[in-house]
Symmetry: C2
């Protein structure tokens, strides 16, 4: 058996999986190899009381209150990138979808579609990243599934996570609740995740490496709920399609206009430079650790102050306003004071970003 | 634009998706094409109150009691087969995992990984199958996600579903609860699903077509719970790896032996013939609409009678017994009276069966 590549010297997977350095079809067959993958790779990483029962479904304690339920699949390419991996994304993506609904994320499922030939050491590293991200976000991965597809019918691995969380009583937020006069708040610089992926993929190099912002947003969401109270109307993490796609969806759902002041948008210089080289608008580039909040104007400063006191919100800014004019549309006030309509792109600037 | 293939003449998808007869990368980009796929394809099929809110996470009403939570990914090849499609499987697979935990299945998520070039008409047909299966099983598909991967990195489409259900109070079942003396009950003939897939894939033809048994098992599970009461110890749907894999897992979890009487095993003649041609043991072939129940012997006949009165359990049988000897092992009494150890296969007899 060849030595594992240097990146993977420290993987935690114990014997007997080392007999199979790569995924074979049998790892998805429900036989001994499947069982070994569960016992020697998934269980040690994700260990918790619910998972260890190993039934097909997991039994969770009774939850008081309304539940939030969400799912996301992750097909990012490459699997590892500056600032994270598909494992971090898979946990934080679903944690953040729950958090944006106002829920406290509690439990995740994990479904793996593995391509024959995937290094088990790479899978182990992804699974360790998922476990670390779950600990950081305070969630448990309680149920899972693994399938294997033939070489040439996948791309290393795809991950689906679904998540369950509980909602505080009385909370009433959603994309349709944005109201004219609301301040649009953003928790930090945009475009980091998308440009981190693109710079690796396209081999771009800058003076400093662009690092993904992949992070769990449940604490920033809690701050917005606690400080914003009834004044909080919408929360959203602007992932695929960037803040452009998120703000469009909110404008359309709430039948209001959204006006962004471009001069107030936080964008790191290296991200701006990369966007210029590739001809991209940073507003349309994906984020994985940023959130938008729509709050009545009188609460805007209080929410911003709370965010800025949190490490993930240090560069939070007020970036725009909800208007009665232009319902369903996104407008931007440019740095020279002109207004432009920001269209929703037809398709995809950056494929397989998450 | 070419005419759709005859199979797909009746697909329900309205305009404007017909402008794009095939999936393009942009359908996964979070822009207009993504939004059209959701609005014109997923929403009309799955329509329900929770889904229509269109946030990233869905808010569910408060559920009284413990929850069951489960996930499965579906990579079956081909997508359509006698008796069903990947859409039926994706709903019933997760419904059944929840039902086997004793839960009433309530809500599903659906995550799609689409390969560039997939016919939108085929996707529409799969989605319609999912909607029909969900109606039949009494569950709602309340949240979803779509990703698109480049041609050559998928195989048409892969689906992940996760599910949430509620558990009756006081129910205490699980693979570790099997007890010596328990009767092993099976709800009907084995091997139908696996051999339906294989006969299509290998081009085998028999006098009668082998049809997948894909079906929701929540009603049979309810009957086992209601009639079995405290005497019900384990429920399991023998999918990948067939009853061999399921019985092995139960024997190992409960540290008991399981003895199957081969003469009592219901197997359709055409399935037996196909297994003989391919050199397969029907006990190791996948099912998608059958369940095993372990009950104290005195309740066995009552559960069997209840099952036989249900259309999905007409051919239910008692197939074996739990023993104190041979803990962790599966044994079979052959038709000539000898006993053999039934090994857990290392890997995969039938790849991508579900």
């Amino acid at each position: 058996m060849p030595d594992p590549p240097p990146d993977f010297q420290n993987w935690t997977c114990p014997l007997p999986l080392r007999d199979y350095p790569k995924i074979v079809m049998g790892h998805g067959g429900g036989g001994k190899l499947s069982a070994e993958l569960v016992e020697h790779l998934f269980l040690p990483a994700f260990r918790n009381d619910a998972l260890a029962v190993l039934g097909d479904a997991t039994v969770l304690p009774a939850a008081a209150g309304r539940l939030a339920f969400s799912t996301d699949s992750f097909v990012v390419r490459p699997l590892f990138f500056p600032g994270g991996s598909i494992g971090h994304l898979a946990v934080n993506g679903t944690v953040n979808d729950l958090a944006m609904a106002g829920a406290r994320p509690l439990y995740l499922s994990a479904g793996f579609i593995l391509e024959e030939g995937l290094e088990i050491a790479a899978l182990s590293r992804v699974v360790d990243d998922m476990a670390a991200a779950a600990r950081l976000a305070g969630v448990q991965i309680v149920t899972g599934d693994t399938k294997v597809v033939e070489r040439g019918h996948g791309d290393g691995l795809y991950i689906n996570t679904a998540g369950v969380g509980v909602l505080p009583e009385g909370l009433n937020i959603g994309p349709g609740r944005a109201q004219p006069g609301d301040a649009v708040l953003l928790s930090g610089p945009i475009g980091d995740h998308g440009m981190a992926i693109m710079s690796v993929r396209e081999g771009l190099s800058f003076e400093s490496t662009i690092v993904s912002d992949c992070a769990p947003l449940h604490e920033l969401a809690s701050l917005a709920i606690d400080v914003g109270g009834d004044a909080l109307h919408v929360m959203r993490d602007p992932t695929r399609g960037g803040i452009t796609a998120s703000l469009h969806e909110i404008a359309r759902s709430s039948k209001t206009g959204v006006l962004v002041e471009e001069a107030t948008l936080p964008v790191r210089p290296e991200v701006r430079a990369a966007c210029e080289i590739l001809g991209l608008d940073p507003m349309g580039v994906a984020n994985e650790g940023k959130m938008l909040a729509f709050v009545t104007a009188h609460k805007a400063d209080a929410v911003l102050a709370a965010w800025r006191a949190h490490p993930l919100g240090a560069n939070a800014a007020r970036i725009g306003t909800v208007t009665t004019g232009h319902p369903g549309m996104l407008l931007a006030k440019t740095v020279i004071g002109a207004r432009r309509v920001v269209p929703l792109p037809i398709g995809e600037n950056l494929p397989r970003i998450c």
